[in-house]
């Protein structure tokens, strides 16, 4: 069934179709409608889940941890400062191997107080052990919410779905809502073990000495490596069920491109418009869209960028004291590759500033003109 809905409601309906058992969330702009809709769905009886009201995001994730530890399917949503407040418990969820799904509305971190889109909130949680994907459209938001449960429960690692503030969260788009029965067939419920179980009692997440802690963390990375394959498989299986396939990355006009533009989030769609126009003008540009950030698709990035001469990375984020975060990660992925194209880092759209087709064209033009990168990063659209 096709419906026009805002990105936040696409999250809510994705969670409902996934038959979550427990929702614990705290409202924050621009995420509020996610929990608003879910609480109404719970109250009306359309969703048979326990909605736990909490007094903070820290408690929201803590409640999800508790619920998930019993084997329940747990979900939460937040944004920006709220995600930062969850930080400690994000480590707990991942370290505890609890397949919680978290929808994060990408919003700049204050101060100055800012409710608009950039990716510094989620990228600050890079090393917590959460998987991270970035969505381009409301349809992707819905689809990835459902897929996230399947992926997370397969590898027992929690997953964060990211969508840009307002560009997706508050923007209405057409979304194809799958039937519940089809989702049930795609995402069956199975009780994960081991978990809290009075018939098989164990203590969970207690003190671990140096004699075992390292090995436990090696297991987490092994699961992250496995997740790269699982994401591809689940994305393919989703396509078989619903006609829309996904993967770790996707590409556009990249096969014969000399310049690859790397994007994530809503800027990806804008970029394709600009790329189409530039191609008409004979500019040999293509696109690599980063869907997954954690696990980082190192192999795909190497493969897909192996044939280009120049790589332009568009980052709607910044690691203060270094550079754009996607750019850093791609450089790192290519460092041990046989061929290392020139990489141009561009920073645009920080704090919700628009990224327009003209922004993209400026980036491609700058990349085309330069023989080699003059700096590790270049600000786009900053006042002189």
């Amino acid at each position: 069934m096709k419906k026009v809905m805002m990105g936040n409601h696409a999250v809510s309906h994705g969670a409902m179709l996934s038959r979550v058992d427990v929702i614990a969330a705290y409202p924050i702009t621009p995420q509020t409608q996610v929990v608003e809709e879910l609480s109404e769905l719970c109250a009306s009886g359309r969703l048979d889940a326990r909605f736990i009201k909490v007094e903070s995001e820290h408690s929201a994730m803590a409640a999800c941890v508790g619920a998930s530890q019993t084997g329940a399917r747990a979900f939460t949503a937040t944004s920006s400062q709220g995600l930062a407040l969850m930080h400690e418990v994000l480590h707990w969820a991942a370290g505890g191997r609890l397949p919680i799904v978290l929808a994060n509305i990408n919003r700049a971190m204050g101060p100055g107080w800012n409710i608009w889109a950039d990716q510094n909130d989620s990228l600050s949680q890079r090393d917590t052990g959460f998987m991270q994907v970035y969505c381009e459209s409301n349809q992707e938001v819905l689809d990835w919410t459902i897929m996230a449960f399947k992926i997370a429960e397969t590898v027992r690692v929690p997953m964060m779905i990211n969508l840009d503030a307002f560009f997706l969260s508050h923007t209405y788009e057409m979304v194809d809502l799958p039937d519940q029965a089809d989702v049930d067939a795609f995402l069956p419920k199975a009780r994960l073990t081991p978990n809290l179980d009075i018939n098989d009692p164990h203590a969970f997440n207690a003190l671990v000495t140096p004699a075992q802690f390292f090995e436990i963390r090696v297991h987490l990375q092994q699961s992250m490596e496995e997740a790269k394959r699982v994401i591809v498989d689940v994305g393919k299986e989703f396509g078989e069920h619903f006609g829309r396939s996904y993967g770790l990355t996707s590409d556009y006009m990249l096969d014969d491109a000399k310049i690859a533009l790397v994007t994530s989030g809503t800027a990806s769609g804008t970029a394709r418009v600009a790329i189409r126009e530039l191609r008409k003008q004979g500019v040999p540009v293509g696109q690599l869209k980063m869907q997954a950030f954690r696990p980082f698709p190192t192999e795909e990035v190497r493969d897909k960028l192996a044939g280009v001469e120049k790589i332009a990375v568009l980052d709607r984020n910044f690691s203060w004291g270094a550079g754009g975060i996607f750019a850093q990660e791609i450089k790192a992925a290519l460092y041990n590759a046989e061929r290392r194209p020139q990489l141009y880092g561009y920073i645009a759209g920080i704090g919700g500033r628009d990224i327009t087709p003209e922004t993209i064209k400026e980036i491609i033009r700058k990349t085309e003109e330069a023989d080699r990168p003059k700096a590790d990063y270049t600000w786009i659209g900053v006042m002189p």
Partner: protein, 591 residues
């Protein structure tokens, strides 16, 4: 060594270790006992009420039983330390309540009221004496008042042949002849005395020391003697008119009333003094249809009477003339007609610490009066107790076990230098009984005292003496030692009273006693300071599951039925901190 067996899990390769952090064995593999440098232990301690009771009654012990509704067991436990709970349950000035730690929390426990309920239960219990007359030695007790009766009771319980000599026709002393029936009905006393006869005490009535026999004669025919004849001689006022008919001592007045021969008095009765005899006299006069007035030379604050007795007299609307002293009793037609008094003011404190009353010149006035009852204190009777009995300030010199300057002669009660209260008299009788046993068994007095003392205030325990406990340290638990987080405020239960308006024509008991439910509720308010009552907090809080129930009983004072598994106790002392009643201690240990 722990009785529990650890099941260690050995990992050899990465795949052995679960990716989910979880226990594969139990915490027994982690022998946290090696971390310990302090260790907790179970140690029952002394409660402040127990220490403060001159008779050394194990109050928290009987409260614990009463809280479970076990009044019979409570009464039996009580009698280990004191033979007559029904009596002190009615007449004690209960210093225990002033020492009660609960006073720092909400209101002190109504110990005296619960004691009375236990006492009323004790009236139905005849004490069994398995040692009855088992020993060859004979002991004479002179004076069957509270002190003599107590001493006789415990000596008989120890196995001695005891003969009690009593000057009056019945036993009880001040309990019978000094305390009015509305406070202590004589039937209660009769039952308690029957119980004492039952354990093997013989009574010789109407036999007075110095009249029918001498101390030397007693000492010749008995192995030991306990003197507890009390003080029955009232102090004189030393004012003109004191010897007129119509002036008598309060003690004599009460003696006559309690003997069933009330003297003709009143209608206007002046009671001189502010002590318990004065209160008993004025309230008795009221019940005989008189109009009593209390004349006291200091103020209410300095009155030595039990506060409750003063409050009852006030409730009965008996007028008080404070800061007033009689200077002359005025005669008319050979009888008392009036009393000239003088007003006083309070000057500098005297040797008692109370401010000395000083007459105000020119403030004399006359008070029309028909009877004067004097109650300004007592002295031992002028007839000699016996040659060679050393005295100090008119009091027989006696040590902590009642030993006097004459070998094998002990003394106690009001004869010796201690407060003139029933419970102090009982305490002295108990100490003398132990003292006589120590003497006749040739035990080491110092060691015995150290073993049986209850805290630091001079009380001793007959239970400890005969090995029945309580098994507790001498250390006294104060409010700061408790963890009051585990207690909830509960109002103190007050005894029902006979309405004051109904009292002027009857000697019916004023205090009506608690119902069973009330007594249980009040006993439950007891903090049981220093005693393990198996609340299980130590088990619940131990983070290492190192506290185990040990049904056979543990070790050391109190024998709490818990055991600490020192292979796992890491010495965090959470158990000690969370013990609500300070029944645990800790000590430093080496590794």
């Amino acid at each position: 060594m722990s009785e529990r067996k650890a099941r260690p899990v050995v990992f050899e390769k990465l795949a052995d270790i679960p990716s989910v952090t979880m226990s594969l064995s139990d915490t027994l593999v982690n022998k946290t006992g090696s971390w310990r440098y302090v260790q907790p232990k179970y140690n029952d301690k002394t409660s402040p009420c127990n220490e403060t009771c001159p008779a050394g009654v194990n109050i928290q012990g009987f409260m614990r039983l009463a809280a479970e509704g076990k009044f019979r067991e409570a009464a039996i436990l009580y009698r280990q330390e004191h033979p007559f709970p029904a009596i002190t349950g009615r007449v004690c000035f209960h210093p225990c309540e002033s020492a009660c730690n609960r006073a720092d929390f909400d209101e002190p426990l109504a110990i005296n009221a619960v004691e009375r309920r236990i006492g009323d239960e004790a009236l139905h219990i005849r004490t069994e004496n398995p040692n009855k007359c088992k020993l060859k030695e004979k002991v004479a007790v002179v004076g069957a008042g509270p002190s003599g009766l107590t001493c006789a009771f415990y000596l008989a319980m120890f196995g001695y042949k005891v003969t009690a000599y009593e000057r009056n026709a019945k036993a009880g002393g001040v309990l019978r002849y000094g305390i009015p029936d509305y406070r202590l009905p004589q039937e209660i006393l009769d039952i308690e005395i029957e119980n004492i006869e039952g354990v093997g005490v013989g009574f010789e009535y109407k036999k007075a020391l110095g009249r029918d026999f001498t101390l030397e004669e007693l000492a010749d025919s008995f192995d030991a003697v306990y003197l507890a004849t009390g003080v029955w001689h009232s102090k004189r006022m030393d004012i003109p008119g004191e010897d007129l008919p119509g002036v008598m001592s309060g003690l004599e007045f009460l003696h006559q009333v309690n003997s069933g021969n009330p003297p003709k008095i009143g209608p206007k009765v002046a009671v001189i003094g502010g002590g318990n005899t004065a209160m008993d006299s004025c309230r008795t006069a009221l019940r005989l249809g008189c109009e009593p007035v209390v004349v006291y030379r200091r103020t209410r604050a300095e009155m030595p009477a039990i506060d409750e007795e003063i409050r009852e007299a006030e409730a009965e609307e008996i007028p008080f003339e404070f800061l007033t002293a009689p200077v002359e009793v005025i005669e008319k037609d050979g009888r008392v007609a009036a009393m000239r008094c003088i007003r006083m003011k309070l000057g500098k404190p005297d040797s008692s610490g109370r401010r000395r009353p000083v007459p105000i010149e020119g403030s004399e006035f006359e008070m029309p009066i028909d009877t004067v009852l004097t109650a300004i204190g007592e002295d031992p009777e002028p007839e000699p107790l016996g040659d060679g009995l050393e005295k100090e300030w008119n009091k027989v010199k006696a040590d902590r076990f009642g030993r006097t300057s004459i070998e094998r002669v002990h003394a106690g009660g009001d004869l010796i230098d201690q407060p003139h209260t029933v419970v102090d008299a009982i305490g002295a009788g108990k100490k003398a009984a132990i003292g006589i046993d120590v003497l006749l068994r040739a035990s080491a007095e110092g060691e015995v005292y150290e073993r049986i003392r209850v805290g630091e205030k001079g009380s001793v325990s007959t239970g400890k003496y005969v090995g029945l406990g309580p098994d507790q340290l001498h250390e006294v638990v104060h409010y700061g030692d408790l963890n009051p987080d585990y207690f909830t405020p509960e109002p103190r239960t007050e005894m029902p009273h006979l309405e004051p308006a109904a009292r002027s024509s009857t000697f019916e008991e004023v205090n009506k006693g608690l119902s069973e439910e009330q007594a249980i509720a009040e006993a439950k308010r007891c903090f049981n300071c220093g005693a393990c009552i198996e609340c299980d907090n130590c088990i619940l809080f131990c983070p290492d599951i190192a506290v185990l129930r040990s049904p056979g009983g543990g070790e050391g004072p109190g024998k709490a039925p818990f055991k600490i598994d020192y292979e796992y106790c890491k010495g965090c002392l959470v158990c000690v901190h969370e013990c609500p009643r300070s029944a645990m201690s800790f000590e430093e240990v080496g590794q």
